[in-house]
Every structure is written in structure tokens, then in C-alpha cells.
């Protein structure tokens, strides 16, 4: 086993702003350190994001993978300062192009939103305003940052619509969202997000709500736009198989924390943590003939209000031993640039529970 290096992630200690994250470099566009987001609800404090750290280099793609409710969207909205109430960023740093987004005033934040960071949301059916034409909504994205005249903005928006592959974009400019299919609406969303050629594009499950046939098209579009504009991308998904050939690095989220983090090859071929193994088994792998049935991870994601003691994954883990419910494993570097939060990472014991037949 590789030498274990203490990584500056998780744990009780305060932010170690000076320590480098595994993929952080002078090139890093975005560095998130020990981000904590809580929702104060009537039922208790929901720890939706509980101390995550990661970095994204210019032009590269970070995939964030995890089950529903693991905090992917909340984490992404925090980057833009758009955590919905009653959510609050409790602590952490979000350094984008050298500035801490959490310390910017509203005016400065707005200059970054939609301009230097674009965002595509999960559900294209509800993410466009039903009472404005798609053209008007794309124009608005251009106008707000460039102060173009209405006519020029219209011209630019039409161009953007054809860039994202809307056929007859000039004629369809004045159509309303309900006149478009799901895939086309997601293209419109993408047109708005890339309107200002942002340095970073955050795509939050951009294909989850779409037909399987359309999913690949949308991912291809994102990939080619990324090439063209040299954008960095955070690609959120619950299906690593879908995005494996686009991602450079992968962060696996579970119950608000990152439980494994590494290059796409490491995560894909050499997963260390049983949860990642489970994720891999539960998705169809493109590069392998299907060997046997897809196995979903058994059990339910844990409550984010009352997290299980020890490792949050232990109640669902086939390998769990006593130490797993007594001590919370830290996210440690086991290999060069390959981190995992597991007491038995790289050294898994015999599974205790047999897989269901």
C-alpha cells in the first residue's frame, strides 16, 4: 500500500488555507476548501454539504458523482452564491480566479454569474421562464453583461441558438419554451450558460431529465463547446459511465462529503472505497461486455440530519467492521492523487454479507 499522506480535507480542524489540494496548481481556476452548507429546517439542521474540498483547473472537467440527495446540487449552487433559503454557507472558501466568492458583494457576484461562470440546471422543463420567448431569455443573458442594444443582442442570441444546435434559430427565436422538446430546451439553457464564453461551466445533471437518445447528444454538445471555448467544466451526474470519457478528475460524494477523489482512470478502474465500487456495479459500463446483472447499492442514503456514527456508509457497506461504526474515516491520499475516506481503502477485507443472487 502506498504511503499515507494526510490530506487537507474533512476533519474537525479549521481550514488549512495554505495546504494544497491534490489537483491544485497555479492553473487552478476554482478551488473549494472545506465548504459546509447547512439547511436549518423545522426537523433539524440538514448538513447538505459537510466539508468538501476540490479544485478545477482551467479547461479541465471535474465530474461530481453521487446518489440523489448527496449534496451535489447544493454544492454547485454554493459556488454561484445561489444556495436557496433556508440554506446557509456555514464556512469554507470558494476561490474563483483568485477571489473568494463568499466574500464578494452582490454586485461583484452578479458580474461573475452568467458571465465568467455559466450554469446549466437539472431540469430543462422547469428551468426556463414559461412567459418569455426563448430568444428573449437568451438575449437577456447577453444584454445584462455586455449592455448590447436590443437588436445586436437579438443577433447574438440567434447565433448562440444555432451554435447549440437549434435548427432554424431565426424563426424559432420568438417561440416559447413549451413549444420546444426537453432536449431542445436543454440546448436553450446551454446557449444561455455559454452566452458570455465563461471560464467555468457548471452542468448539474444536464441529461437526467432527458430521453436516453438525447442524453448523449447533449453531452457531446457540452464536450465540443468546452473544446471550442476552452472552458473548464464541473459535470454533475449520478452515472459515472455517462461522463467517463469527458472527465479528467472525479469526486464521489456521499451524504454531503467527498468519499473518493482522483483521476478518472483511478476512480473508474481502481476504486478504493466500497461505495464507489457499488456505484460502478450499479451502472452500465460502456467499455465492458455486460457481466451479469446491474446491482443497485442496497439500502437508503442516510439522513443528513442524523448522520450515522462512524463512516456514513457503514450501514450499507458489505465490508463494514467494528471500526467503521466507531470512527469516521478521513479522506486520505492512498495513491498519488487518489484519495478515499475508508478504513480499509486499498485493502478491503472479505465481504460479510453475500450479494443477493
Amino acid at each position: 500500500m502506498a504511503e499515507i499522506v494526510e490530506a487537507p480535507v474533512g476533519g474537525e480542524e479549521a481550514t488549512s488555507a495554505q495546504t494544497r489540494l491534490p489537483f491544485e496548481s497555479a492553473d487552478s481556476l476554482l478551488v473549494v476548501r472545506d465548504l459546509v452548507v447547512h439547511f436549518h429546517t423545522d426537523f433539524g439542521v440538514v448538513k447538505a454539504v459537510d466539508g468538501v474540498s476540490y479544485s478545477v483547473n482551467a479547461g479541465e472537467t471535474l465530474a461530481i458523482v453521487g446518489e440523489s440527495g448527496s449534496g451535489k446540487s447544493v454544492n454547485a449552487s454554493a459556488v454561484l452564491g445561489l444556495v436557496p433559503p433556508p440554506g446557509k454557507v456555514h464556512r469554507g472558501e470558494i476561490i474563483f480566479q483568485g477571489q473568494d466568492m463568499l466574500k464578494l458583494d452582490d454586485q461583484r457576484l452578479r458580474e461573475i454569474r452568467g458571465n465568467r461562470i455559466g450554469m446549466v440546471f437539472q431540469d430543462p422543463l422547469t428551468s426556463l421562464n414559461p412567459v418569455f420567448s426563448v430568444g428573449a431569455q437568451v438575449s437577456e443573458a447577453v444584454q445584462i453583461h455586455e449592455g448590447l442594444a436590443r437588436k445586436d443582442a437579438r443577433e447574438r442570441a440567434t447565433e448562440l441558438l444555432s451554435i447549440v444546435g437549434i435548427p432554424r434559430s431565426r424563426e424559432r427565436f420568438d417561440d416559447y419554451p413549451h413549444q420546444f422538446s426537453g432536449g431542445m430546451r436543454q440546448r436553450v439553457m446551454i446557449a444561455m450558460a455559454i452566452a458570455m464564453k465563461p471560464a467555468l461551466l457548471i452542468a448539474d445533471e444536464p441529461t437526467t431529465a432527458l430521453d436516453v437518445t438525447v442524453q448523449a447528444q447533449i453531452l457531446d454538445l457540452l464536450g465540443s463547446l468546452q473544446q471550442e471555448f476552452g472552458m473548464a467544466m464541473i459535470l454533475i451526474t449520478h452515472d459515472l459511465g455517462m461522463v467517463a470519457d469527458q472527465a479528467d478528475t472525479v469526486a464521489v460524494m456521499y451524504a454531503g462529503s467527498i468519499v473518493e477523489y482522483g483521476t478518472v482512470d483511478d476512480i473508474y478502474y481502481r476504486p478504493l472505497m466500497p461505495y464507489t465500487l457499488g456505484l460502478m456495479a450499479s451502472v452500465a459500463r460502456m467499455d465492458q461486455a455486460r457481466s451479469g446483472r446491474l446491482r443497485p447499492i442496497r439500502g437508503q442514503p442516510p439522513s443528513l440530519i442524523f448522520r450515522p456514527p462512524g463512516c456514513p456508509f457503514h450501514p450499507r457497506c458489505d465490508y463494514a467492521r467494528e471500526v467503521c461504526w466507531q470512527e469516521q474515516p478521513e479522506l486520505l491520499e492512498y495513491d498519488q492523487q487518489h484519495l478515499a475516506a475508508c478504513h480499509f481503502a486499498g485493502n478491503l477485507p472479505e465481504p460479510i454479507r453475500k450479494d443477493e443472487p
Binding site: 445561489l82 452582490d106 461573475i112 452568467g114 458571465n115 455559466g118 440546471f121 412567459v131 444561455m192
Partner: protein, 300 residues
């Protein structure tokens, strides 16, 4: 529209028939002379059977004839025609008050949720919804007509002789409940809309708060609110009966209320038909205007 008018007149006929012969109220306390009585009964066909009266009334109605008032000896059409402009003006003023104050209060409440203004609006609207319209009218009359009569803010409490100042109290009274309902509906809808995904999209574009609220959110919230105000217009015409009576407003509502008390059936029926038609017409207009507000149901 036609079937509704048919049905409504039929119901009215049956009810009025059950209330008995209007002939007795004509003479007031005195007993009418036998021959006079018979003349009137013959003239208005008061002894005919119900179906016969109904058919002859509908025949006249088809010709645009609403008959003649038994007490006023004037055509019902003329009487209602005189009252119509006053009722319309009052209703429109009330609608204007409802639209403006209802929406402004609702939006402020939603945007500054749990602020003093929001709490104030919530309490105020609860009170307005709870108190009866005629009582509010009487209290306003007492306040502005009696207690403040020697000050410069005293206001006329009856009739229409004082120009626009005459409108203030009746219109406020008439608008009160509707304004409260509109304010609440606006608040709820705005809060609902502000939670929508497209609002988050607007924020992610970098739009300032006020563009998000007053362009993206308000435009959506207005769909149910405007629809509701349109429908209120129909109820306002009905609500005018109380308000017009309290403020001696020379509109259709007061005419109708008086006619009911005096059993002047031709006015009761004619007035009701006019109110029903106005109500239906407004609903039709609201349906058509839907398309302008909401592109999802634009007919093209």
C-alpha cells in the same frame, strides 16, 4: 350564455310566483279599489298561470323588451339604463383600487416577508375579509360623514352630487374584501413563483434582484392574479347591491334591492338578467385575455 339566461329567468319566475301576488304592495297600506285592482292585474297578466307568464315574458325578452315597472310606470330598460353607468363607474373605480392596492400590498408582503409591512398586511387583510361590507360602509359614513364632518377630510356619504369625492367611500367599501383577497393571492403566488427553477436560472444569469422580482417573478405571478381580478368584476356587480343601498348610489344594485322589497317583479327579473349577462360577459373577456398573459394557452 342563452341557456343560462333561460334557466335563471325560470328560477326567478318560480321564486317570485311563490312569494305571491305583487298587487298588494302597490297600494301600500291602503286597500285598492276593486276595479283599479282588476285593471292592474289584467295589464300585467298577474292572474295568468306561471308557464303562460313565463312564455310571454321570454317572448318579449327576445324582442329586447324587459317590460314595465309596476310601481314606477316606466320601462324597466329605461330604469336600468339610467342606473347602469353609475354602477359601472363604481365597479371600475373599485377594480382600480383592488388592482393597485391589492397587488402592491401583496408584492411588498412577499418580497419583504415577515417584515412589519407584511405582518401589517396579513392582519389588515384578515380584518377586511372578516367584517361585513354594509357594516364597513356604515362605519366609514360615521367616521367621514359625522365625526370628521367639520374637518377638511370629511367626505360625502350618500348620492353622487359631489363629483369624484362621492366615489371615495362607496368604492373603498365595495373594493375592501376584494382588495384583501387580491393582496393575499398576490403574496402567495409571488412566494410560490420565487421558488421556481426559472427564478434560479434568472439569478444564475447575473440579473439583479429587482429584475428577477419585477420582471421574471411578477409576470408569472400576475397570471392567476389578473384572472382573479377579472372574475371579481362579476362579483363586484353583485356586491354593489349592498354598497349602493348603504350609500344611496343610483345604480342598478340599489334599484334591484328596492324592487325586491317592493315586489316590483319586472325590475327584479330584468335587473337580474342584466347582472347575469354582465357576469358572463366579463368571464368571457377574462378567458380571452388568458392568452395574452400566458403564452402556453395562446390560441393561434
Amino acid at each position: 350564455m342563452i341557456p343560462v339566461v333561460f334557466g335563471a329567468t325560470l328560477i326567478l319566475f318560480v321564486m317570485l310566483f311563490a312569494l305571491g301576488n305583487p298587487i298588494d304592495s302597490i297600494g301600500g297600506e291602503r286597500n285598492l279599489d276593486r276595479s283599479v285592482r282588476q285593471t292592474i292585474i289584467d295589464k300585467y297578466h298577474l292572474d295568468d298561470s306561471l308557464p303562460k307568464q313565463y312564455i310571454s315574458y321570454m317572448g318579449n325578452l327576445a324582442k329586447g323588451d324587459l317590460g314595465e315597472s309596476i310601481l314606477q310606470r316606466r320601462p324597466v330598460k329605461r330604469i336600468l339604463g339610467d342606473g347602469m353607468p353609475w354602477s359601472l363607474k363604481l365597479a371600475l373605480t373599485a377594480i382600480a383600487i383592488e388592482t393597485f392596492f391589492g397587488i402592491v400590498a401583496g408584492v411588498i408582503s412577499a418580497v419583504r416577508r415577515y417584515s412589519f409591512l407584511d405582518v401589517f398586511t396579513t392582519i389588515g387583510t384578515s380584518v377586511l375579509v372578516a367584517i361585513p361590507v354594509f357594516w364597513l360602509g356604515l362605519m366609514l359614513q360615521l367616521l367621514f360623514g359625522v365625526f370628521l364632518r367639520n374637518t377638511f377630510i370629511h367626505l360625502p356619504v350618500s348620492g353622487v352630487d359631489a363629483g369624484w369625492r362621492s366615489f371615495i367611500l362607496p368604492a373603498l367599501t365595495l373594493a375592501s374584501v376584494f382588495t384583501a383577497i387580491t393582496a393575499r393571492l398576490t403574496r402567495t403566488t409571488m412566494l410560490e413563483v420565487m421558488r421556481q427553477d426559472y427564478i434560479r436560472t434568472a439569478a444564475a444569469k447575473g440579473l439583479p434582484e429587482r429584475t428577477i422580482v419585477y420582471k421574471h417573478a411578477l409576470r408569472n405571478a400576475m397570471i392567476p392574479v389578473i384572472t382573479n381580478i377579472g372574475l371579481d368584476f362579476g362579483s363586484l356587480i353583485g356586491g354593489a347591491i349592498l354598497t349602493e343601498t348603504v350609500f344611496s348610489w343610483p345604480g342598478i344594485g340599489r334599484e334591484l334591492a328596492l324592487a325586491v322589497l317592493r315586489k316590483d317583479n319586472p325590475i327584479v327579473i330584468g335587473g337580474t338578467i342584466i347582472l347575469i349577462m354582465a357576469f358572463l360577459l366579463v368571464n368571457l373577456l377574462v378567458d380571452i385575455s388568458y392568452g395574452f398573459l400566458d403564452p402556453r394557452i395562446r390560441y393561434d
